[in-house]
Subunit: 311 residues, 2 copies
């Protein structure tokens, strides 16, 4: 599917060696755009020197839970002092941009403003504001933060919070009121996800047909927690709605390019990136949907960045 | 995936014409095993005359909601009077076999016994009784009927009914107690399906690894209702759990062969059925996951059976 990792995204075999290439003195990931390899000190400095903006993944890369990854805050402090613009990218749709800037401050990272944070809740709200006709509303399977980002851009919404089935029998469920303004179903992380909400989402999608958008914040299938355990991610909820509706959702989060096109900070926006194109933005990310290795992306090339500590 | 409709299952184009073949005087579905075509009167009598057992789908084929399909009860009455053994097959995991026999009686169908009803709840219970070690339990996303069928075959279980997350934060959710006896996660239709239950299902599957079975009653993605509307089917819930666990569930319901192998009524059990093999069982079914046309299956060949009324 179009939203799966493709060109320019790291696979899970982050440590697999490929052919070592050189371009402009920078050690590059070899073996195609889906591989990445570690940048050692000199090469990392060369890569960083060429960048004026750095995009950082957050959960599991800069911090784990409420603890900053050792050395990460100091590393970012040095980068900020060197004049780099630092931005933050996350698939987590449960926090607003303001909550992220507050967390960065609390954990000792360089000061950030909400406009430097690109969370999937914010990106989904931006997308819907562009895609929906004026006054059209979104039925939301998601968090209060997702609702807040929709409010901030002026997209009416309903849905967040617990929901109960409106009666004992399927015939009752299929007769619950539908808001006539709803023209989109938006699926983010929702701890209150339930059959009742799935049912209502399907009913909006069936009523609207192709005129009702189906949007997901991301496809992460699990959220890893401390101690090696995990909880289900938004991708599970997106898949349940997609299965009911027999439609594919448009995903705004990583690795979809919609978010990057919003940054307007020099990232190429065409789907196919030329190997010899230049970029002024680099993105230290965890490898897709895992927390195995911090990675650095540049021009659809993935690097492992040794200036961030391993964990 | 192995549980998708494959050889011997009807596709949605139930009315599409194929090459007409003849074998033993019987008009057969042509154009490959995934097509079916209507059996007119003479051919239908020939097919029925060769069968001693008839397997009927129920919801949408014999009845719609609480109303028998016009003529269906009379047709089955004639078949029973002609000495045919009538059996009933359903993917609905929300009713016990006893509930189905009672419904058959209530709607005027020939008398049936629970042993003539092969619901996906019963088949799942039978499967788990065979597959689980003695004393091992199942964590169930499903109905009281599914729980009752597990009890009837002696499989301990937990899970049916509403569930709440055990605290406000993901760290709390990942520390809820797990029953040490659980060695299977069983997913059926569950109107109380929730993120809390999805989370617990994933935790059992992560704890047990390949030693924890993942079983689904069926993959029906929607349950059609009167008036052209629909509600999400069990397939949506199965897909959510599969996405979280990154594993494929074993499906006991149609079109999986496990159920048919249980019947022991002459159906071939090998995955590949020879075209010239014989069978004494015929199955009037709705086409897979739709209610378009009553179909008759025989030896991996699908027929539309005109002795049942169109609707």
């Amino acid at each position: 599917m179009g939203t799966r990792p493709g060109r320019g995204t790291a696979n899970r075999g982050g440590g697999r060696a490929g052919t070592r290439l050189r371009r402009g003195g920078v050690a590059m990931a070899g073996g195609g755009p889906r591989r990445c390899r570690r940048l050692e000190a000199d090469a990392a400095r060369a890569v960083l020197g060429a960048a004026d903006t750095l995009l950082f993944d957050c959960d599991g890369v800069l911090w784990r839970g409420e603890a900053a990854v050792g050395g990460a805050a100091a590393a970012l402090g040095r980068l900020a002092a060197a004049g780099k613009r630092l931005c933050y990218v996350t698939n987590n749709s449960s926090r607003t941009r303001a909550a992220y800037t507050e967390k960065l401050r609390r954990l000792g990272f360089p000061p950030a403003e909400p406009r430097h944070v690109f969370g999937s809740a914010y990106c989904a709200a931006r997308y819907l504001r562009q895609a929906l006709p004026l006054g059209a509303a979104a039925y939301v399977l998601g968090s209060p933060a997702l609702a807040a980002e929709l409010e901030a851009v002026g997209v009416p919404h309903l849905g967040p919070g617990p929901a109960a089935l409106p009666g004992p029998a399927p015939a009752d469920w299929a007769q619950a009121p539908l808001d006539p303004a709803v023209r989109a179903v938006l699926v983010g992380f929702d701890e209150h996800f339930s059959y009742a909400k799935l049912c209502q989402a399907l009913r909006y999608l069936l009523r609207g047909g192709p005129d009702c958008l189906l949007v997901g914040t991301n496809r992460d299938h699990r959220l890893p927690l401390e101690g090696g355990t995990a909880i289900p991610g938004t991708g599970c909820l997106v898949k349940a709605v997609e299965t009911a509706a027999q439609r594919e959702a448009f995903i705004v989060g990583k690795p979809n390019r919609f978010r990057y096109q919003q940054f307007n900070i020099g990232l190429p926006s065409s789907p196919t990136v030329q190997r010899n194109s230049s970029s002024s933005a680099l993105m230290p990310f965890s490898s897709t949907q895992t927390l195995e290795t911090p990675c650095l992306y540049s021009n659809n090339r993935a690097y492992c960045l040794s200036v961030l500590p391993e964990y």
